[in-house]
């Protein structure tokens, strides 16, 4: 075997992909050729270093949850990503997905709440619970805020905040439009472990101080309402109170 032949087979040799006779021929050559042996060592070291250094990623919990939710639909294929079909907006084509928020294990919501208006909070909680039932679609699902925010254009008459909260541990999941209290409102959905978070937004119709914040609970769901940037916002979730507060804090700070 010549050195050129040996070099050509070295990768397959270290990968254990050479047939027995070829491997034996390479081994024999390496034993008698110092230069090729050095090349062999170098290649082994390179391969080992690449394998040790490069990360093998784990699929994020939120991704697993999204997939489980999609597969739990009565007709999972109807929820296929809009990016594989003609879509209304070019931004949606970048990464939007239509999936259904269906599972009762997923329950994290932010809801626009006017604290003085109990019936509105009740409606918002009902809307959140409806969204958790099978068949209720999250209209756009994307982990990219630049896909979700423009999606609301033309669907609702206000532009809800869609901050990226990955670093705070609340990945964006998507958004939908809901009809609550005689109004079409945007709902932005975040995740926390196995929980979902919906965020509802209304125009602020009354005088509020930006620091005003109220908390309440309905049917086991926590609700936090606050005001920011001319909007009233409400969060509803079965997530524990401290973590929901943490979410609202991160959401407000990110604006």
């Amino acid at each position: 075997m010549t050195c050129a032949q040996c070099r050509e087979l070295l990768d397959a040799y270290i990968d254990g992909e050479l047939p027995g006779e070829d491997a034996a021929a390479v081994r024999e050559h390496l034993a008698s050729c110092a230069e090729c042996a050095r090349e062999h060592e170098l290649l082994v070291a390179t391969s080992r270093r690449i394998g040790e250094t490069l990360v093998r990623y784990q699929a994020p919990d939120v991704l697993k949850a999204r997939i489980r939710i999609a597969l739990a639909q009565p007709d999972p294929l109807a929820t296929e990503t809009p990016s594989s079909k003609p879509v209304a907006t070019r931004r949606l084509a970048l990464g939007g997905l239509g999936i259904a928020i269906a599972s009762s294990i997923l329950t994290f919501a932010i809801v626009r709440n006017v604290s003085s208006d109990r019936s509105l909070t009740d409606e918002v909680v009902s809307s959140h619970i409806r969204a958790l039932m099978p068949g209720h679609l999250t209209d756009v699902v994307s982990t990219n805020q630049h896909n979700v925010k423009p999606w609301f254009n033309g669907r609702v008459d206000l532009s809800p905040p869609v901050p990226s909260l990955d670093s705070a541990g609340f990945p964006l999941i998507g958004g939908r439009v809901d009809y609550v209290h005689g109004r079409t409102v945007p709902v932005v959905v975040y995740g926390r472990r196995q929980h979902l978070i919906d965020v509802y937004a209304w125009p602020d119709t009354r005088e509020h101080r930006e620091t005003d914040m109220s908390e309440s609970a309905r049917n086991g769901y926590n609700v936090i309402a606050w005001h920011a940037g001319g909007l009233s916002l409400e969060a509803v979730s079965d997530l524990n109170r401290p973590e929901l507060e943490q979410f609202v804090k991160a959401f407000s700070a990110a604006r």
Partner: protein, 173 residues
């Protein structure tokens, strides 16, 4: 699709989600795009589940993931070429920036940069072999090229990374 088929699909496909996400993450270099691509791929796999014959489920899923990633990249390129919005540029920068911050160690950073700089056809065989441990036959199936081509791409990719690691500095002269 009957529930028992969905069950079978989940048993066969879902164990390979980490591999699917890893490949998408290296090909697209953005965690959000990678998540969207994997979800695309799983639903596409479900659509074509009838065509799956008992065999290498991982390679089958990775083939679909790879196609979804390529579709996504091609679409993004067309969009960027046709309409240039300032926001699109921001999206790209943000994604890479987040990844870059996560890379702390300098050697890992150097290797990652060298990997990112590889032509995609070299990068994918490196990831499939060195990170995911696929055989040449499996890589050949996933990428859709002959085994000989897998071999030569892997060899060239490794040698470029060896240079980046400084492993062959003494050989240079």
């Amino acid at each position: 699709m009957p529930p028992k088929d969905i069950d079978r699909f989940e048993r066969i496909v879902l164990p390979h989600l980490d591999d699917a996400y890893t490949l998408a993450r290296y090909l697209l270099r953005d965690q959000h795009d990678a998540q969207d691509a994997v979800q695309d791929a799983v639903l596409r796999a479900l659509r074509y589940f009838e065509t799956y014959r008992d065999g290498d489920a991982r390679a089958w899923l990775l083939t679909i993931v790879r196609n979804c990633c390529l579709t996504r990249q091609r679409r993004a390129q067309v969009e960027r070429a046709n309409i240039s919005f300032v926001e699109d540029v921001d999206v790209a920068h943000e994604g890479r920036g987040t990844d870059a911050r996560a890379i702390e160690q300098s050697e890992r950073a150097a290797l990652q940069r060298a990997l990112d700089a590889l032509p995609p056809e070299f990068r994918e065989v490196i990831v499939l072999r060195e990170v995911q441990g696929l055989s040449y036959r499996e890589i050949s199936d996933v990428v859709g090229v002959p085994i000989g081509t897998v071999m030569s791409r892997l060899a060239r990719g490794r040698r470029r990374l060896a240079s980046a690691l400084g492993f062959d500095a003494q050989e240079a002269g």
